[in-house]
């Protein structure tokens, strides 16, 4: 049996969705890990999947890779069932830990992957080079550092030239230099138009590398947009202005103000629509010296993922 994608369905840049999750629910016994996620990802997007431990990120990734099936809903990757997309090399992944054998060399590990995907020695050399480990090909995997092992996993993931690359907490445990090298390799690779989904808890990575940030909490998507949009969604922005003699009650009556704080002549106003508020302040009041600031992604993360319901599943 052979299963071949006709070349015209090569989805890079075409209209087909890279990922289509529809009403996906995943339960393990009484625990609901994923609670109705619907998510569409277009080809070429670089997506960060953020959320606290137990939010359902890994369960979602497992379903995208066909390692598990959803309890309810549908998962499609490039219009196919995930395990089929995996077998065809349309999607590959760099997992967080494990998945390597210590008594293989770096090169043999990639060679074996090539054998399984029916690729030749040229692709092995290319994958090693692009992952930045061509110089340690003869080294035993057990003698490689954590960062080198992670780049080896990256080389294996690159081998089938996937349309979609999934990275699950890819830089956990790496030092700063290792993390930098790893992201340099990923960023160079993403220029080719590959779709990338990465789960991470380094917020600065999501901010720096993702086109789109998806926040997951308790198995649901709680925010979805660009890093800037998500920051605004979570916290709104704050206007700081000089406004002598203003009282808190007056300020709260202004359009769109959520919280107000008076510090002498200075006032701090939080709002979801700071543009409209700024216009109002300048046109209708005596406010001056306006500064508009957004909270950083870290604060947005804490706001969005704060879990005030006790006893949530881990």
């Amino acid at each position: 049996m052979t299963l071949t994608t006709p070349s015209h369905t090569r989805a890079r840049g075409s209209g087909q969705l890279a990922v289509d999750l529809h009403g996906v629910v995943k339960r393990f016994g009484a625990v609901t890990a994923v609670d109705g996620i619907s998510l569409q990802i277009r080809p070429g997007e670089v997506i960060a999947l953020l959320g606290p431990n137990g939010a359902g990120k890994t369960s979602t990734v497992d379903m995208l890779l066909g390692l598990s099936n959803p309890t309810e809903g549908t998962v499609q990757v490039y219009g196919r069932a995930p395990h089929e997309a995996v077998a065809l090399g349309l999607v590959s992944a760099v997992m967080q830990t494990g998945g390597l054998l210590k008594d293989y060399t770096v090169e043999e590990t990639v060679k074996l992957t090539a054998v399984l995907f029916g690729r030749g020695p040229a692709e092995v050399t290319e994958a090693l080079r692009r992952a930045g480990i061509a110089d340690i090909g003869k080294r035993l995997v057990g003698k490689c550092s954590g960062g080198q092992q992670q780049r080896l996993r990256f080389a294996m993931a690159l081998l089938p030239d996937p349309e979609l690359l999934i990275l699950d907490e890819p830089t956990t445990g790496m030092d700063v230099a290792g993390r930098h090298d790893f992201w340099t390799a990923i960023r160079q690779d993403a220029r080719s138009g590959r779709t990338v989904i990465f789960a991470t808890h380094y917020l600065e990575e999501a901010d720096a590398y993702a086109d789109r940030v998806v926040f997951v909490r308790r198995g649901q998507v709680v925010a979805d947009g660009t890093a800037a949009e998500v920051k605004a969604m979570a916290s709104g922005r704050t206007i700081r202005a000089t406004m002598p003699g203003a009282s808190e009650a007056q300020l709260l009556a202004l359009p769109g103000v959520e919280t107000a704080e008076v510090r002498g002549d200075t006032v701090l106003l939080a709002s979801r629509d700071t543009d409209a508020l700024a216009r109002h302040l300048l046109n209708e009041t005596g406010a001056r010296d306006l500064e508009i600031t957004s909270r950083n992604l870290e604060q947005a993360f804490l706001t969005l993922t704060a879990d005030d319901i006790p006893g949530s599943p881990e």
Binding site: M1, S7, L88, G98, L101, K111
Partner: protein, 261 residues
């Protein structure tokens, strides 16, 4: 923008990913493992030299050869058994390392993976029998030519029981050093099955029980071309039944392991 080259056709590998290339790489890795080499090539030959080559063994006849030959065949069976078990039990290490999960991100079909493991187990089993026989041929074992060939083939082929046993245990035990458990287990089974000591030397009750243990059948069958003694059908039945039991066990654990939940 430049136009991109035609993308490679995406197709699934033949035979679910079972390939000579994979077997070659896996074999190289196996031989790199010192413990495997000791179990496969060194231990059976050393046991033979220790217990089978004294003067009385060389002069005392056994069937159409001498006692040295009798012990040689037993040790070849023991070596084949150790090798195929450790070959099958490789799945335990690979599961512990998360390698099995990694392989699920490739087109390799689980059944093809098992087939590769069985081929590897049988290959090192064959190598073990050949090395032991080679040492034996220089150390005073006397067998007719047909017995060399038939005993060797039987020792090897019947060790399939233990390839299935290794797989079963490999899926059952999550340990990284599963052979540290299985090594002693095999030694006990070898005693119980009359591989190290002839069953006549044991009491009657014990000798009867021995016939139901998994090593008994393999040993009896493998020595038959030399001694032409014992109940051939009972031995064959023993091998078939134990192969079926271990294979069923391996399939059961394997299905559980690869199920998408």
């Amino acid at each position: 923008m430049t136009t991109t080259a035609m993308p490679p056709a995406r197709s699934l590998p033949k035979f679910g990913g079972f390939s000579l290339g994979m077997i070659k790489l896996e074999l190289r890795r196996m031989i790199r493992n010192r413990r495997t080499v000791i179990f496969t090539f060194i231990m059976p030959a050393v046991f033979f030299l220790l217990f089978g080559t004294n003067a009385s063994s060389r002069t005392q006849p056994a069937g159409s050869g001498n006692v040295t030959a009798y012990i040689l065949v037993s040790m070849a069976v023991y070596g084949a058994m150790l090798s195929t078990t450790s070959g099958g039990a490789m799945v335990s290490v690979e599961r512990a390392a998360g390698w099995s999960r990694q392989l699920r991100l490739t087109p390799l079909k689980p059944v093809a993976y098992i087939a590769v493991k069985l081929v590897l187990a049988m290959l090192i089993g064959l190598a073990s029998v050949l090395v032991t026989f080679l040492v034996g041929s220089f150390s005073g074992a006397q067998l007719p030519l047909h017995a060399w060939i038939e005993c060797g083939l039987l020792a090897w082929v019947c060790a399939l029981v233990f390839a299935a046993f290794g797989l079963f245990m490999g899926y059952l035990l999550p340990s990284e050093n599963v052979m540290q458990i299985l090594g002693p287990v095999l030694a006990v089974l070898s005693f119980a099955g009359g591989l190290f000591v002839p069953l006549d030397a044991l009491g009657h009750t014990f000798a009867t029980i021995a016939k139901f243990t998994p090593v008994y059948g393999v040993g009896e069958l493998a020595r038959y071309p030399l001694v032409h003694d014992g109940n051939l059908w009972l031995a064959a039945l023993n091998v078939v039944v134990w192969t079926a039991i271990f294979s069923a066990g391996a399939m059961w654990r394997f299905r559980r392991d690869t199920a998408r939940v």
